[in-house]
């Protein structure tokens, strides 16, 4: 295990993009955790005398560092608290979809037969609907709010986890170590979780990283469409939707939340690409 990690780290640290991604993710996580320490103001606090104030590089006022929104709330504080929500969303989505997807994928690949057929047809079905449409579908049943948005985005992410885990299980199931374990009379649980599962981890971790970025992106899209987090929650997508009307008078309100989304999503995609290459250096071109 230790040798494997050293091997992994050797390849991973050569990828500067992935390291940068990791750094950005680390910064956003710290920001999210320590939001009350970093944020200069309460994200909901209103400064009635500072409506639509410009950011510091356009004005002499540096009290509200990145300016304020249409009701006079400090944009920087809202962005910092927004990191908390978006990182939280990403984390929950990944936990939900990874655990459900892994269970179903393991069962599907290991048991095979009719159960496999049934699970795979459900996966086909879910994948035949575009992700946002499927999420909208779920939200329209459950009703639009932040928690339902998270559930919807997690549901959307599950099929790709099932597929990846199932594919690796099918691959591993044929290996001799599994056969050896069978001849020693191991139970199905032992074979599945002690023998096979650790070998499925590498593609799973890569997919979970990419799932993080998809989750944040889709949840922000739902928030933007008014189907996820509802105002006045400081969620980046919702903030974007709120500021659309001020695109001419207050461009910073439109620019900055989206920039945060882009940075986080990009960081996770860089990390995911780097992890994939590091886990399987042969694939690297």
């Amino acid at each position: 295990m230790r040798a494997q990690f050293i091997d992994f780290w050797y390849y991973f640290k050569q990828n500067r993009g992935a390291l940068a991604g990791l750094a950005v993710i680390f910064i956003f996580f710290i920001t999210a955790l320590l939001a009350p320490l970093f944020a200069p103001h309460n994200p909901a606090q209103i400064f009635p005398e500072h409506l639509l104030q410009r950011p510091f590089f356009f004005s002499e006022q540096i009290n509200l560092f990145l300016g304020s929104d249409d009701v006079g709330r400090d944009l920087l504080s809202r962005l910092i608290y927004g990191a908390r929500i978006s990182m939280g969303i990403g984390l929950l989505v990944v936990i939900f979809s990874t655990s459900i997807g892994t269970m179903l994928g393991l069962i599907s690949g290991y048991v095979g037969g009719r159960i496999d057929w049934f699970i795979m047809r459900v996966v086909d079905m879910m994948m035949s609907l575009p992700s946002i449409l499927l999420a909208i579908f779920v939200v329209s049943v459950l009703g639009p709010n932040l928690l339902n948005g998270i559930i919807a985005v997690s549901v959307v992410a599950v099929p790709s986890f099932i597929r990846i885990v199932r594919a690796s299980v099918l691959e591993e199931k044929k290996r001799q170590y599994v056969m050896a374990s069978q001849t020693f009379g191991s139970s199905h649980w032992r074979i599945l979780f002690i023998n096979i599962f650790p070998n499925v981890l590498a593609p799973l971790i890569v997919q979970a990283t990419l799932g993080f970025s998809d989750g944040i992106l889709n949840a922000a899209a739902l928030g933007f469409l008014g189907l996820g987090a509802q105002p006045p929650t400081a969620e980046w997508g919702t903030m974007l939707a709120d500021s659309r009307a001020y695109i001419e008078s207050a461009p910073w309100l439109v620019t900055l939340p989206g920039l945060c989304i882009l940075m986080v999503v990009l960081a996770f995609n860089l990390l995911g690409d780097g992890l994939r290459d590091a886990f399987d250096p042969r694939l690297k071109k």
């Binding site: 329209s140 459950l142 469409l225 461009p251």
Partner: protein, 337 residues
Amino acid sequence: MGKFFFKKFITLLVVLFGVSLVSFSIIRLAPGDPVMMLIGERGADAETYAIMKHNLGLDRSLPIQYWHFITSAMQGDLGTSVVSKEKVSTEFFARFPATLELGMFAMFFAVIIGIPVGILAAIYRNSFWDYLAMGTSLIGYSMPIFWWGLILILFFSVGLGWTPVSGRISVMFDIPTVTGFMLIDTLISAERWPAFFDALKHLILPAVAMGTIPLAIIARMTRSSMLEVIEADYIRTAMAQGIPSYYIIFVLALRNAMIPIVTVIGLMFGSIITGAILTETIFSWPGIGKWLVAAVNQRDYPIIQGSCLIIASMIVFINMMIDLSYFWINPKMRGSR
């Protein structure tokens, strides 16, 4: 080969059955009583309520309700919108050309830039331009397009004033709908070129916003596919024979490299719909995406139900067509299954 077709067809039927079951259940799973939702806040007496419930077929058993839903859906009747009282299918297909026009233009933009960029990145592998192209495409791939659309508006419409902010055509033109494709309808109308260019100006920004993610995917796919082909033996042989390099790259290599790229482009229909939902909302484009979002906000369940069914069926059919087209593209497949 017959067996393969048969298996594919059975899978298709099962998936369509599942999709129809999910669409069917939405109105029943949604919170609140669908009958009360139709009646509205004013309410109704018990008799009116019973009549409405009967008219909607909600007083019968679930299997019979499903049977009615699926048989009328096959006859093209997907129910009636709660808000506009129009047929869902009529409304869907009245708006679909707008989305299709936008989607086709977006894909055109993505292909016309993505493929050359991918080829160049593969040829000049590990050069500065390769890194630049792949870095940019990773940013494009990570782009929240609802934000990207706003940034494009901010820069090109608000800042430079080059393009209009929203809609399909300026209000001064009154174009009769013939095909539903604005670029064609303007040309066959009396207004001709001025209207055509006006429509084109309206189309550019949404198409760029919507085409950005496909562009990034196509560029990355083209690069990796070309890299694989360039290393093949037959390319080395061709080079040894002194065949001009433009011919090797654009004819010998590209022909084989195109197979996975064409597949990916075909499979992008789903992401076009996703893109349409977001892009149309930003640019007030009168297509199915904007219509669907409005339907969800107004809790217009027949529309959500019907359009999910239509869109999913389209995607399932397209995917099957792609699967089957392998037989014509790649003769090796014919023997293998």
